[in-house]
């Protein structure tokens, strides 16, 4: 009796969370911080989504019905910034926070206080970014790529944009350092690098991409800042600078950033498919090497975003071939997933549905990426809706679907309750149908010649734009269902077992559902 009482005392007073709001403000617990990241990301998903709906509402018909072109440009700019820096990146960091310590058999992240700080920077950075919409002249309107000289014409929103990008970058770098430190130092005895689950591997590599490229972005935007306010001319030809140099520096960050947004997704899908195929992942080692190859290649392909700036032909040839090369390791991944499914014993619960949706639609985005890689034809595709369709296929049914799949997959573990499977499947089918209604016609629009980032268009583009807008509203509304499912599971539902899924393997399934406040206080042994 005595021993029991002492245990309970320890749990509640010394190692348990604070009560009320301060629990969340002061927390250094990886699960609490993971939850904060995920909720923040969910909120931003609807903020960024609302902006997308403003865009699609204006594009529903030719002519200007709702907003001024200047505000339209603010919406396209803010939608991208919020979806990238406010939704997809924080969601992946949230998943990493929740799952990495558990998956490597650690009690918590390696640097818990920095963990708290890296999250709490985010709400302030996001508030400053969204706040630009309320200053004189409105938000930034030069596109998320912030190309000078256009971005330098920005008004009061300009410095706020720069500082919020700085803050978001600091937060990302701290998160990445924490992840590297956790993976390198806190793995359970016996867990060698080549025994780590793939989600851990892909995040390990992603963290290095973040550490390598975020400072580059910070440097680029700082140069913008000094060009505007301190009379430097890094990017002004009149002062001996070069506006194209910004694009090189930006995309040196921007292309690895693309993989920052997709490598963790590869990891998630590589966890989920074996579980529901009841069969080990095919080609574990080649998955790791393919991820590393993609990460390496991502540093030498940046200029394929700027084939039309007028590069020397040798440069164009190099960037074309390097970019096409990425199709090889990416193909290996897709083939491995398909082989994992092959002769498995599959069931199709919601996480598996989203994972399969990911594989199919990400591959479609990958194939259009191959088309875009080929410089001569890119001269036609560049800056049209074909590009918009391409990157939304890899980011929405790609990155976002993987995040949703991960939430469904681990939600029973997190909350201890099974989610509503029927609603989950409904969410999947609505999302999949509408996301294709939304983005598939944009391929046609781009091929027919509609440039991106325009608030109004010639009448021959009217039909597909209308279809696309209908898809957008359908997709947006379907996501409300996700909120319902998640909050229903948080509040209650059928008790989840520790194992949760029949075919699941890995350390996270050895813990109780929900897991104890400190994950592994005794390190597990890995054979």
């Amino acid at each position: 009796m005595n021993a029991h009482a002492v245990d309970a005392h320890d749990d509640h007073d010394h190692h348990g969370p604070d009560k009320g709001l301060m629990r969340w403000v002061r927390t250094t617990n990886h699960k609490d911080i993971g939850t904060l990241y995920l909720l923040f990301s969910l909120l931003m998903f609807f903020v960024g989504g609302a902006m997308a709906l403003v865009i699609r509402a204006e594009l529903f018909q030719p002519g200007l019905q709702f907003v001024d072109p200047n505000f339209f440009n603010q919406m396209t700019t803010m939608h991208a910034l919020i979806m990238i820096f406010g939704v997809v990146m924080p969601a992946f960091v949230g998943l990493a926070n929740w799952m990495l310590p558990i998956m490597v058999g650690a009690p918590d992240m390696a640097l818990p206080r920095m963990n708290n700080f890296s999250f709490w920077i985010l709400p302030f950075a996001a508030t400053m970014l969204i706040g630009t919409l309320f200053v004189e002249g409105g938000g930034p309107a030069a596109g998320w790529t912030m190309y000078p000289p256009l971005v330098l014409q920005g008004g009061k929103s300009f410095p706020m944009l720069i500082f919020s990008v700085h803050l978001l970058g600091i937060s990302s770098i701290m998160g990445a350092i924490n992840i590297v430190a956790t993976i390198m130092n806190l793995r359970a005895p016996g867990m060698t690098y080549m025994k780590m689950p793939l989600f851990v591997w892909t995040w390990f590599i992603t963290a290095y991409l973040l550490i390598a490229t975020m400072p580059v972005l910070a440097g680029a935007v700082t140069m913008l800042l000094t060009d505007k306010y301190f009379a430097t001319s890094f990017f002004s030809a009149a002062g001996g600078g070069d506006p194209v140099m910004f694009q090189h520096i930006f995309w040196f960050f921007g292309h690895p950033e693309v993989y920052i947004l997709i490598l963790p997704a590869f990891g998630i899908v590589s966890q989920i498919i074996p579980t529901f195929a009841r069969k080990p992942l095919f080609g574990y080692a080649s998955m790791v090497y393919a991820t590393a190859s993609i990460a390496f290649l991502s540093f030498i392909v940046w200029a394929h975003h700027m084939f039309t700036v007028g590069m020397p032909v040798v440069g164009e040839l190099f960037f074309m071939m390097a970019t096409m090369l990425i199709a090889v390791p990416t193909g290996v991944k897709v083939f491995n997933w398909v082989s994992t499914m092959w002769r498995g014993s599959m069931t199709f619960e919601t996480p598996m549905l989203f994972a399969i949706g990911f594989v199919i639609m990400f591959t479609i985005g990958g194939l259009s990426g191959l088309m875009l890689a080929m410089t001569p034809i890119d001269f036609q595709y560049h800056d049209t809706y074909f590009v918009v369709a391409h990157f939304h296929y890899v980011l929405v049914p790609g990155a976002v679907f993987s995040i949703v799949a991960a939430v469904y997959y681990w939600l029973p573990k997190w909350t201890g309750h099974m989610y509503d499977e029927k609603l989950g499947r409904l969410h999947f089918w609505l999302s999949t149908i509408f996301v294709n209604v939304l983005f598939w016609p944009q391929h046609y629009l781009g091929l027919a010649g509609m440039p991106r980032r325009i608030p109004d268009y010639a009448v021959q583009f009217a039909d597909f734009n209308m279809i696309s807008s209908i898809g957008a509203f359908g997709f947006g509304l379907s996501q409300l269902l996700f909120v319902v499912v998640v909050f229903k599971a948080i509040r209650g539902g059928q008790q989840a077992t520790d194992q949760v899924w029949e075919g699941a393997e890995g350390l996270e399934w050895t813990l109780s559902s929900p897991p104890p406040y400190h994950s592994f206080s005794v390190q597990p042994e890995i054979k």
Binding site: G137, T308, V313, R343, M346, Q460
Partner: protein, 380 residues
């Protein structure tokens, strides 16, 4: 006609009738140059390669999803690696990519070779219009969005875009080129980055301030080819179309002669004394084409971005000299560009007069607020 095709035709007819000028173009245009045809062909090859890969991969997946499911009692096997298979599906895609890269590389080298051209046109991007210069002929002019499109493109303009001829794809002065000649385009910009693109000429290239890019095209058939700016360049990025009119050599020569005559007539206009009514009428026209994108037709501008011209210290009182200076030379560090080389003396005088007298800026009808072309000439 079978019953089925009739039904399809009726449905199709209904859809097209409902959407007026709209069409359902789903593919790239073949275009009007040899290069554009090559690009189209390569596009189709890559497209079919992608379709084939997709069918193969998704076919295997779907087969697996149908047959290898637990509900059919399928037992999972345990295979999970094979070096041979991994090598095969690394090498085969690599070979396919090399086979695609070879024709693409050749084509690229061809596209980038603008040597031995027959004529040169300089294209300069402005917020938000294009300037075309023919250095050999001494012709230059600006190409703005057509007035019919501009009127229909206002926020809640109440004009159905479907009733406007080539809505957003029509300009006042198109670029005129001869067919069968290798035309070299020199591209640059006066303010921010733009990109000059006509899908039928296939190549898109950025116009960047301080740098000159080049590209070339040999148009095969006479015709009108339409495109748009393809690089975000600010508020009216969607409203600066490119229209290229390709003519036979004869028609082109006639057009060149006509342009040279028109320039002489224009120079004469600038020297005469204008009445206030003439200046106001012309000024409103110039204002709506060149100024209203930012300062709006009402003169109110957009607070924090584009200043209001109503009651501004620059547009009322004794500020004529400063006003002329700003319009002529622009204001550095802002989006206000120098109009000195875009508008002639008469147009500048008219638009400045308009700005100083419209919107109640000169309620007393003070005659000192009238600017004559000669005053502009003196300031240049």
């Amino acid at each position: 006609m079978t019953k089925f095709t009739k039904v399809v035709a009726v449905i199709f007819g209904l859809i097209t009738a409902a959407t007026a000028q709209a069409d359902w173009t789903m593919n790239m245009r073949k275009g009007a140059t040899d290069i554009s045809h090559d690009i189209f062909d390569l596009h189709m090859i890559v497209l079919w390669v992608c379709v084939a890969i997709g069918v193969l991969v998704f076919g295997v997946m779907i087969w697996s999803m149908i047959y290898h499911r637990k509900s059919r009692g399928y037992e999972a096997s345990d295979f999970h690696e094979s070096t041979l298979v991994e090598i095969v599906w690394t090498v085969i895609p690599a070979v396919i990519l090399i086979l695609l890269a070879i024709p693409a590389g050749k084509m690229l080298i061809d596209i980038e070779d603008s040597s031995n051209s027959d004529m040169t046109v300089k294209v300069t991007g402005y917020q938000w219009k294009w300037e075309y210069e023919y250095p050999e002929e001494g012709i230059s002019f600006f190409s703005n969005l057509a007035a019919s499109s501009r009127e229909a493109a206002g926020l809640k303009a109440g004009v159905n875009p479907a009733t406007v001829d080539h809505y957003l794809l029509e300009v006042d002065n198109p670029l005129v080129l001869p067919v069968g000649k290798k035309v070299r385009f020199l591209l640059t910009s006066n303010d921010v980055n733009h990109a000059w693109w006509t899908p039928d000429l296939a190549i898109k290239k950025d116009a960047i301030p301080g740098f000159i890019n080049d590209m070339w095209a040999t148009i095969n058939e006479p015709g009108i080819y339409r495109g748009q700016c393809a690089e975000l360049c600010g508020r009216d990025h969607g409203f600066m179309p490119v229209v290229v009119v390709a003519k036979t050599q004869e028609d082109y020569d006639a057009w060149v002669a006509e342009q040279k005559g028109a320039a002489a007539a224009k120079a004469e206009e600038a020297d005469k004394e204008w009445s206030k009514e003439e200046l106001m009428t012309k000024g409103e026209e110039v204002y709506n084409t060149s100024c209203a994108s930012c300062h709006l037709q009402t003169g109110e501008g957009i607070p924090g971005v584009f200043p209001s011209l109503i009651g501004s210290p620059l547009t009322i009182g004794d500020s004529i000299d400063e006003h002329i200076d700003v319009v002529l030379n622009g204001k550095s560090g802002t989006a206000m560009q120098a109009f000195g080389n875009q508008l002639d003396d008469a147009e500048l005088a008219a638009v400045i007069t308009y700005e100083r007298n419209a919107w109640g800026n000169n309620a007393d009808g003070d005659d000192k607020q009238i600017v004559q072309p000669s005053m502009i000439k003196a300031k240049r």
